[in-house]
């Protein structure tokens, strides 16, 4: 993660919808549009990726625990692109339980015969962990592969929290 890594709002693309085959820790399906008006932290990980577990996860949990939930949304995305047999839904469910992960986590949907799941492909993620920040208007403002840096992630979140877009700037504002 580089210095001041936020993409300027004007040049940033709209964040694509998530393609999820199954959700955990939420009673209803999650649509990113639901969160217009607050920033979203999307954490793409694999349960058997050591860097995801030891570096990324503690930081994402810190965001979920230290920043009020009405101000920011935290979502996990299980983007399995290797060892598919080892990371099936019951394994993920046990993992979420053992690691006490209580924010919503979706399984990135697979297409038959393809190793890389749909959302991962759509976003062009290079691997795991990948950390995505979406702003209040629905724009993708950070896309960071590799171990995140706590201080800079905080700075980015502080910046996104401070933005106060006009209603007219919000994507798909019917929702």
């Amino acid at each position: 993660m580089k210095r001041d890594p936020l993409i300027p709002r004007e040049t940033s693309p709209w964040a694509s919808d998530l393609q999820v085959s199954q959700w955990f820790n939420t009673r209803e399906e999650i649509d990113l549009k639901r969160f217009r008006g607050k920033p979203v932290l999307l954490y793409a990980f694999q349960m058997l990726c050591p860097g995801c577990v030891s570096h990324g996860l503690p930081l994402v949990k810190a965001v979920y625990e230290q920043i009020p939930r009405e101000e920011i949304a935290v979502i996990g995305l299980h983007t399995v692109f290797e060892h598919h047999e080892a990371m099936q839904p019951p394994a993920l469910e046990a993992f979420l339980h053992e690691y006490r992960i209580s924010f919503p986590v979706g399984i990135d949907r697979h297409e038959a015969g393809k190793s890389i799941p749909l959302t991962m492909r759509e976003y062009g993620m290079q691997g795991t962990p990948t950390l995505i920040l979406i702003d209040k208007t629905g724009r993708l403002r950070l896309h960071s592969f590799g171990p995140p840096r706590e201080l800079l992630l905080g700075v980015c979140l502080g910046r996104l929290l401070s933005e106060h877009p006009e209603i007219s700037e919000i994507h798909d504002k019917s929702v």
Copy 2:
């Protein structure tokens, strides 16, 4: 450090001037007014305070190294209120050299016969480490005693960096 700890701008006081008897790592005396227009992180510490060295210092160094210097000012303040004989200027100088601290550090000025130095008293600091954030207008927006939390410090800095005050809101704008 609590959740979202910034004091709202409207209710925050102007930050007092520093009372410094000697500066290190800077050729000229530092006046906080010089930094109007960018946030200031003021780190009050003692070189023989274990929590200051092991928890606070690495974080303050991270701020100094990871956020561009034209965007934020980092200043150390050596607020000695105990073991005075052990923390005289030559000891501090050796400490700064050994711990590779390159941002400006001032010695909080002592009044004869008083244990607590002047700036520490003026700011009402309860001990070390104390982390102070001053916004672009010169207002004191965070005053935090004890081990700082990296993520929340980042969020505060991101918020302060995002503020764009009018000239008329800046304290002592003649400078």
Copy 3:
């Protein structure tokens, strides 16, 4: 782990054989008797046990990497007693690959209808991680449940390495 936790040799029991249904990282089945003459560190863990992964594993890897292999044997035992569906052999294989575990690891054998596997039951283990030390003669000298302490584990290993038993004291010395 308490101070000086080794069981005295005279009062310690012989270590039971392992009941393993499948081995990884070894071409041949492992029989503890093979290691008579050198101490054995047996690490009982579950791949989805956070304490096993974050505390126990780095220490066991340190033993494997820092102490010459001709002096000590390191063996992992996957003692699954919960989330059975999530920790099947292909999942363990992926885990060993991702966490770069290169010492031999066996899967503790399950009996139909029982949750606790055979070796775990035979040794009376209370959970994972459990660290077992077996001395050069085949006696069980340490049985420790919970996060191990690096310094004390080192002291125990140093003591076991320094023992020079007579041939007549070695269990089942025909092997």
Copy 4:
């Protein structure tokens, strides 16, 4: 610290006496001969050496707290060879208090006009931290410069604790 770093007893030299100008945390002067019959850990450090404080000290404190005091002696030696003015006795006293160091610590004696103090020179230490292990007979068995490795230090201590020398092998046994 390399693998299995203990010097064999037969080829190891007798440990030299300490040259100490002032002791802390002990009512009487310490003579290494007093400890014949148990291993001695001698920790040479400087209070303003970051590696000594962050890496060596926690480990030496662990030895002092986790291994019974009747089995091993832990001694600190303040070997100041730079920033002499900053590390005078009152500074060391404040340091020992703030860092809660309760084992005996001696100040390595300086000769007028020499930067390197006497014991440091006599032992041929290259810098700080240096960790020295002396066995039950009074022989120097480990001399390690740089950050110590916890597991290997434990192994060395376990080995030394397991040695049971004859009275005739002990140096200067009149004491």
